[in-house]
């Protein structure tokens, strides 16, 4: 097993990042495609496996036209949805329908633009498959769940409540399974195809455990805070707090105690969801990489652990807050380094037999639209 290695450093990336921002501001945003290329080249170029690095090939010039189209559409979208309430409802639906196309085009472009040892990656997934896993599955399952819950609620409230709680992890597990199957099995490296046989059950177990852990942490936090509140606040303060809360409904201004308790509540929720995220990410990755095989011979392994991943995310958050965001490059490098270096690859015959294959070359419009509209694939393990 050979682990991946990352050679980038925070201070080096900081310089690239700050120059990117400076040039982007000075050019009123026009430099952005070049900035993006430099960032991606830096991360790819410093990622190393077996003494050879990955590479990102797109150029700023190549991205530019699509970038302009995407930004123009985004401006139009934001402006129209603010100016007219009716269109503000229609536009997100239109975007939802376009999303599978955007993701599909962007997968094709990004993998085509990536290479390792002079051999390009590619994506063979069908557009129809993208619509099935990103639209048909989520909407269909949502309808089934709503139908089942409303049927159950006519029988008993508690049955409906239990069904709702159970349906959420099942829904997540199913969508994660189909999306990752579609994406991972569509990838190829040269002539080598990636194969991954993913099942519903392991994902369900991961999500159920994550839900359980979140609920336990929430309970623990509730006990700690109510204990602290009981010890430190006297009853008149509680009365005035309750008074203020009920005043809020009448348009009164919130007291500082309420604002501070809201902040504490918010931070607690943030940390718990961060931990749940780290848990699902670590376990999903271990499962997915174990099941994945490239060209019927090359296998993978992940050693990412929940606690360490959470630790990196948590300290990153502190760093960002303390430096008002200036530490962003270091935090990005730390997170990337940990998640990359926890992956190992077993390639007994090496990579010499791979050769680049022709694949249909799609332009960067999908990628730039996805970037502008912040279109992420929910539940993608990588």
């Amino acid at each position: 097993m050979t682990p991946l290695k990352f050679n980038g450093s925070g201070s080096e990336y900081f310089k690239i990042w700050i120059v990117n921002i400076l040039l982007t501001i000075i050019t009123l945003g026009l430099y952005r495609p070049w900035a993006k290329v430099r960032t991606l080249r830096y991360f790819y170029g410093n990622t190393e496996l077996d003494n050879a690095n990955f590479e990102y090939h797109a150029t700023g010039k190549q991205l530019f036209v699509s970038f302009i189209i995407a930004i123009a559409l985004l401006l139009l979208y934001v402006f129209i949805s603010r100016i007219n309430a009716a269109l503000g409802i229609i536009l997100p639906i239109a975007l939802l329908i376009a999303l599978p196309w955007i993701i599909w085009r962007s997968m094709k472009f990004n993998l085509r633009m990536s290479s390792y040892r002079n051999v390009h990656f590619g994506f063979n997934g069908q557009l129809s498959g993208s619509y099935v896993v990103l639209l048909a599955y989520p909407i269909g399952m949502l309808l089934v769940v709503i139908g089942a819950v409303s049927l159950a609620s006519s029988i008993s409230f508690w049955l409906a409540a239990i069904l709702t709680v159970m349906a959420y992890p099942a829904y997540l597990a199913m969508t994660t399974k189909v999306v990752n199957s579609y994406i991972v099995n569509g990838i190829h490296f040269g002539q080598g195809k990636v194969n991954s046989k993913l099942e519903f059950k392991p994902f369900l177990i991961i999500f159920l455990k994550a839900t359980g852990i979140s609920l336990l942490l929430l309970l623990a936090a509730a006990i700690i805070f109510s204990g602290m509140a009981y010890m430190s606040i006297n009853s008149s303060q509680i009365n005035s707090l309750m008074q203020n809360i009920s005043d809020l409904g009448q348009g009164a201004r919130p007291s500082s105690l309420i604002i501070y308790s809201l902040v504490v509540f918010y931070v607690t929720l943030l940390l718990i969801s961060m931990y749940a995220l780290a848990y699902t990410k670590a376990h999903q990755r271990t499962y997915l990489l174990n099941e994945t095989i490239l060209d019927n011979s090359i296998t993978f392994e992940s050693t990412l652990t929940t606690n360490k991943y959470f630790g990196v995310m948590f300290t990153n958050l502190l760093l960002l807050i303390c430096t008002l965001g200036l530490a962003y490059p270091w935090t990005a490098i730390r997170l990337y380094r940990y998640s990359i270096e926890s992956v190992s690859v077993q390639a007994e015959q090496g990579f010499d037999q791979f050769i680049s294959t022709q694949s249909d070359n799609k332009g960067p419009l999908g990628e730039e639209l996805g970037d502008a509209f912040n279109a992420d694939i929910g539940g993608l393990v990588f």
């Binding site: 700050i18 400076l22 590479e55 965001g325």
Partner: protein, 378 residues
Amino acid sequence: MINGKLYLAGSAKSLPAQLHISEDGFQLYANDHFSMNGKLDELEVSHRLGNIARKITLKDGSVFETKANDAIDQSLKKQTKSSHFMVFVHQLEQNLTLVILSIFIIAGLFFSGIRWGLPAVSHIIAEALPDSANQILSSHALQFLDASILKPSQLPALQQDKIRQHFEKNIAPLYQANNAPRFSLYFRRWPLNEKDSIANALALPNGNIIITDRFVELTQNQSEVDIVLLHEMGHIVDKHALKKVIEGSIMTVTSSLILGDVSSVADLGIGVGSFLVSSVYSRHYEAQADQFAYKHALTAGIPPSSLGAILTRIEQDSIGNIDQIHDKPATRTEENKEDNNLSDFLSSHPSSNLRINMGKHYQTCFDKGITSCPPPEN
């Protein structure tokens, strides 16, 4: 001589190789098996970026890869295919002083962009947009308000007619311009609970002004009604609603443009930041509408202090409502006074003190009998 690896076109298999560069051209030796040579302008060299491996693509598609970045930069300095601009960007990145300076330049540009750039741009766009933009913005707005929070007015029809006639005859004509919108006045009740209702005045971008029953009840004379209506006219004339929409749109897009690769945790910061910025803009617009009201009040002979008087009464009325509900007459504790600092910071309206001071300034002019008063310096 530069050591590296040679990949044949499209293949993952590599051979150790050496590249020699001279004035006339290059020679490439791969593992003693064979050699290639050619002119320098046949080589396509990737841009320097940190210390990641450099790729030199040959005419036949094979790739020479090396980590000897400095040697490549030196021997291929005159090579013209490499973009000068990217060389410049790399030099910027190497220059620590410039990098540190950049932080301050970025902070300065960012601040001035928010302080002056964005309001100026949104002003230009708002003025350039046809009047139909304002119509779209307020289409169905009144119906929506009627269906959701507002109820029909319970004021006697006679009183409504009197106020409306006075407004149409004496107040609306105070603003004369080519493209002046048609101002129309609507009376509504804004219920808070079964007993009480809210005192307020609203302006829709197409010229519709709504005043609530409670507001009319609270006013003590005609001047107070007039000056609040002038304030609302100020919002409409200066297209404040449209400008807010434009500012919000631009802010959303540019923040994602500049900080595009920042993670979702930082999105949170952007959200809070743009909320603060938009409340600052909001306060600016309230102050602007106040000035509009004062200016026209002076020409119409309405005492400017009326605005402060009625606003204070409206504020007390909203506090009074809450106290009544809880049978807690005016026991605002010390704690609440401190809180106001924080709340003021988050508030969309200028603090009452600021407004009252501005009112006093215009009142002085009024008392001296001046009809055009320069805005106060602050």
